[in-house]
Amino acid sequence: MASASFLPPRRTIPFPDRKVVTMAEAASLVPDGARVAIGGFANYQRPMAFVRELVRQRRRDLTVVGTVSGIEVDMLAGAGALKKVETSYVGLEKYGLARNIRRRNEAGTVEIVDYPEVLSFDRFRASRENLTFWPSAYLGGTDILTHNPDIKAFDCPLTGRKLYAVPPADPEVVVIHAGAADEAGNVLWPSRRLMPQELDLDTAQSAEMVIVTVEKIVSNQFVRRNPTLNMLPAYRTAAIVEAPCGAHPTPTLGRFVIDDAHMQAYVAASASDEAFDAYLDEWVRGTADHAAYLEKLGAAHVMRLQEIATI
């Protein structure tokens, strides 16, 4: 009976005795070839410390399913870890095109499957609602249809109108970066938040293996004092990693602003495979872990990126 069930398996990994793990342990939960959703939006609040650890562990053939993608997939592409991304946008916003992924896409080594932005969100809603398709009415005439064999036309069973079935996102693993969590794995969100944080909540509901990197581990008492901020209860998370400034160089709401200088350096390095390899050697492979990365950034530099908390 279980094998025929339409419900996703409740446990995709054994629950460890302790939910709080190291970054290396958390990254090892993502196998080569995995289908991954990475939290954040464009260049905001990406779990970059986790992405760097995937690069350190030389992960290969990943498929990233996203909505509005940025530096996180560009870094994976530049490190040779990315096979495919399904998304509505890959770019670095004001820093321009994402040059690593563009170069590899044009060379045919990274596939980009295009979805309009709204449907890219709806695909996560479909996973959350355990739907094997999401109906859409408005794709006719676009080349998104011609280039995306995963979208299929069908007739509305009630109106007869021609519709398009869009497949659910269905990531195997979701990784997001948040402010705080307790040791049981309850994750807190600020009540005033923006699209990247909201999107993280939707993304986290689309899979069972949810890994959360956080600025700080807090007590369960702290959680119980703020139950309205607990948007991701413990039973929804598989692993918690403490990673202060873990979204660097992207911002974290109420904690850090974007590291403009580092973004500029990143963009410059992504001009060629060789230069980007040197960047990875220096900043990623050349640092043993996130602590070493922070040390290389330097306390003075990191402290200047701090933001006065708004909440």
Binding site: F6, T132, F133, L158, L163, R192
Partner: protein, 297 residues
């Protein structure tokens, strides 16, 4: 900043609803039902109504008592621990009211389909139930174009009007809720799928107050056609965080509704009294109600 104020009287708001309209009501069982609005519909004798709701009961039962309800589509029509909805039940059992029953996720799928402009949403909870067979205009069995998995396609609810009772709003119709609140309702989704939305609120607040906490705006002004200040607009049910339900008044209503004559007497005594203010006066007035039911938040 927006300059179009949308504050109207309860009478003017209800007068927008024509007889025979299809209207979605917000609220859930014991909370935030649009009772003052329903009483105004009764005063104006606007009938032949089709009502869509999530878990409803009280407002629908009053419309049934007044003979104004033609059809009800929702997940629940009852008075919680005060029993079944007596007039609604009588009307249905007499064949005077048509009902389409749907479960929570099925009805939410219908509201959600309207929200995102789809003609239907697929769900699985009705497979094998008699609800899936009630009305082929609303539910059709279908299979997933990718997997062949079975679903029930739920037709979108596209109401003529939608009425919600909210906590506070500014004069432009930005409606806000408190951070800690009861959440077992889908008012925001119902509002999101509305075509013409009327909101009654406990209190109209200055726009500056809204701007200070914009994350509490759950219904933005752009969705709203009219906003009405109606303190205790859900009475005798609760508006959570503002006041609790009026147990005594609900008991009296349930008791009166045991017979058609009793229900009619109730309407004469409490509804056909001219206005919402006169209704509140029948319970000792706003100040007395606040003192008795306010939880002082």
């Amino acid at each position: 900043m927006p300059s179009r104020e949308k504050v109207v009287s309860l009478r003017d708001a209800a007068a927008r609803i024509p007889p025979g309209a299809r209207v979605a009501f917000g609220g859930n069982i014991m909370r935030r039902q649009v009772n003052a609005f329903a009483r105004e519909l009764i005063r104006q004798r606007i009938g032949d109504l089709t009502i869509y709701s999530f878990a409803g009961g009280f407002a629908v039962d009053m419309l049934a008592a007044a003979g104004l309800l033609k059809r009800y589509e929702g997940v629940y029509a009852g008075l919680f621990w005060h029993g079944l909805a007596p007039s609604f039940r009588r009307g249905v059992e007499a064949g005077a009211i048509e009902v389409r029953d749907y479960s929570e996720s099925a009805q939410v799928a219908r509201f959600q389909a309207a929200c995102n402009g789809n003609s239907f949403m697929p769900i699985r909870a009705l497979l094998g139930t008699d609800m899936a067979k009630q009305d082929p205009e609303i539910t059709v069995e279908m299979t997933c174009p990718f997997t062949g998995r079975s679903y029930t396609a739920m037709r979108a609810i596209e109401p003529d009007f939608t009425v919600i009772h909210g906590y506070t709003a500014d004069a432009y119709g930005n409606v806000q809720w408190p951070l800690a609140r009861d959440a077992d309702d889908v008012d925001q989704i119902i509002a999101r799928g509305s075509n013409r939305l009327i909101v009654t609120v406990e209190r109209i607040v200055p726009h500056e107050e809204v701007k200070a906490n914009p994350h509490l705006t759950y219904i933005p002004s752009q969705w709203v056609e009219a906003v009405v200040e109606v303190p205790f607009g859900a009475h005798p049910l609760a508006c959570d965080t503002v006041h609790d339900e009026d147990e005594e008044a609900i008991r009296a209503y349930a008791a009166a509704g045991r017979t058609a004559a009793g229900a009619a007497d109730y309407l004469d005594k409490y509804v056909h009294v001219g206005s919402h203010e006169a209704y509140l006066d029948a319970f000792g007035g706003l100040a007395a109600l606040k003192a008795r039911l306010g939880v002082g938040r």
